[in-house]
Amino acid sequence: MPQNERDGEAPSRRVRILLVDDERDLVDAYTRLLARAGYDCLGAFDPDQAIARIDAELFDLMITDLSLPRRSGLEIIRRARSGARPVPVIVMTGHNTPDLNAAAREAGADTCLLKPVSIRELTLVIRETLARHAK
């Protein structure tokens, strides 16, 4: 894992991230950028797909938008946090009103980021979040 070694980490396996956003273009770009940064990133474009993935697979982290079609991002956050192994959540949204931020935190999100987020900022937050939950 050359990338992880470069980041100063040496996990036994690649960190698995679920990225939920209805902007396919965005999911596609971030998946490639995160893969480059050494993460295993899977995308979900709608809430149902995201929930199916959360239920079926194991993830180390979830990054999600809040405004999604049909279901609210908050519902997905609660689902991710309620499993036998709660998944840490980072919110990445274009609408970060104080009320929404508070609701996301209440639902169990760790951090709320305002789009656009550079990959450098995102990897930094990912590392911090993982470190916090590893304790």
């Binding site: 490639r32 274009g94 609408h95 009103t97 104080p98 305002l114 656009p116």
Partner: protein
């Protein structure tokens, strides 16, 4: 009705009393002869004497009662006149009385103060001297029509006019005209209120309403732009990923795109920071300390420039109830503007406002290039900027933040000399209206 106002005493009017007594006298003269004849007195002389004596006594009673009533009525009238003078002299409205020829007969002290004349300067002059020249021609006709109608006129109540002072300056006024018939001809009494302050407040309210609406639209747009910006930014990052084989020119172009996407998102974030800062925690804040902390941040950022600071902070200022982060942001904005305007020296002063002791005044003066009058007018408008890379949001946001604290922010500037920003912040807890506005804005 009018005489009633002056002589209403609960007693009959002297004139009415006189008629009543005259009637009683006639009755007495008519019946006295029969009454006296009925008496068993046979001397004519004694009969006459009795008639004269009784009449004299009756006349004396009547005269003294009449005199008493008259005296009382005069006292009441004097009191009423004194009261009327009191109303006239101490009225908050200007009162101008004119006769049917339109000549000024009387002006109360408030009217003299309002128009800048002494009463004697205007007595006997046409009332038209109090309105601007452009309206003078048509006024006599209006005035005559008013007197012809001779009663309260709907258009005379609360009508708005433009008035002119002795020094030639004009002001908006509201007038109510009352028509009073007197023995010496009709009088028109005009009650005048200077409404320039009310007009200014209305203008300011409309302006801030417009700005608020504009702000709401701008934050909405910022939100909507964030997703496409994120797509563009992430795609550029993908293309610039290490290991990509790119011709150098293309890489350069992509980096230009990246810088400009960053700039666009900075604009969007600046706009949204307004919404984010609203629920900032308000706490008692030592304004001097806040200034010193903001300067620590600015100083660390102003290396390489020759900006010097001169602080004159009043050490016994009471704390204000404020959100430290947003006030710090305001100060940082002002200092960095001064730096961008080429200032080398910055004087920051805090004091209790001499005009309103419940306010703290912070003034920040720089010796930069100053702001041209045309730019000064638009300075607090969103997206107005004179800097090549400015977002035009810093001062707009700063003023909004200060206003959110119930304060105000003013600017004075002279090209080539420098600029002074003055912030007034109330010392007391936020007023209910402010909190209401705050909640409304947070929805």
């Amino acid at each position: 009705m009018k005489t009633g106002f002056l002589t209403h005493t609960g007693r009959p009017h002297p004139a009415r009393l006189a008629i009543r007594y005259a009637l009683a006298g006639i009755v007495w003269i008519a019946v006295s002869e029969y009454l006296l004849a009925a008496l068993p007195i046979h001397s004519l002389l004694l009969n006459r004497f009795l008639f004269v004596s009784v009449t004299t006594v009756l006349l004396f009673i009547v005269a003294s009662r009449y005199a008493h009533t008259l005296q009382f009525s005069i006292t009441v009238r004097d009191e009423a006149l004194a009261r009327a003078h009191g109303y006239f002299d101490s009225a908050v409205e200007g009162i101008v009385t004119a006769d049917c020829e339109g000549l000024i007969r009387q002006m109360n002290p408030r009217a003299q103060e309002m128009f800048g004349y002494h009463e004697v300067e205007l007595l006997g002059h046409p009332i038209e001297v109090l309105i601007p020249t452009r309206y003078r021609k048509e006024h006599p006709a209006l005035r005559k029509a008013f007197h012809r109608e001779g009663r309260w006129r709907a258009t005379g109540v609360g009508r708005e006019i433009i008035a002119i002072r002795k020094d030639g300056s004009e002001f908006p006024a509201e007038i109510t005209i009352n028509h009073v018939p007197t023995h010496h001809g009709d009088l028109a009494i005009a009650f005048v209120s200077d409404i320039s302050e009310r007009r200014a407040m209305e203008r300011e309210a409309r302006r801030s309403e417009t700005l608020n609406a504009l702000g709401a639209v701008a934050t909405g747009i910022a939100h909507e732009l964030n997703n496409p910006l994120a797509v563009i930014a992430s795609r550029i990052e993908v293309m610039l990923m290490p290991g990509q084989e790119l011709p150098p020119e293309l890489r350069q172009d992509l980096m230009v795109l990246q810088r400009n996407v960053e700039r666009a998102s900075r604009i969007s974030q600046n706009l949204l920071s307004l919404a984010r800062q609203r629920p900032g925690v308000r706490q008692p804040l030592d304004i001097n300390k806040a200034i010193e902390e903001a300067l620590l941040l600015v100083r660390s950022d102003s290396r390489g420039t020759r900006l010097t600071f001169d602080l004159d902070l009043d050490s016994i200022l009471p704390p204000v109830i404020a959100d430290p982060t947003s006030l710090e942001q305001v100060l940082i904005n002002l200092v960095s503007n001064a730096r961008d305007a080429g200032a080398t020296h910055l004087a920051i002063q805090t004091a209790t406002d001499s005009a309103r002791l419940s306010n703290i005044r912070i003034s920040i003066s720089d010796d930069g290039e100053g702001i041209a009058p045309a730019a000064l007018e638009r300075l607090f408008q969103p997206f107005f900027t004179t800097k090549p890379k400015g977002t035009g949001l810093g001062l707009w946001l700063s003023r909004r933040m200060v206003q959110d604290h119930g304060g105000s922010m003013e600017v004075k500037s002279e090209v080539g000399k420098g600029t002074t920003f003055t912030i007034l912040l109330p010392v007391r807890e936020a007023a209910p209206a402010l909190i209401e506005g705050h909640m409304h804005a947070a929805k």
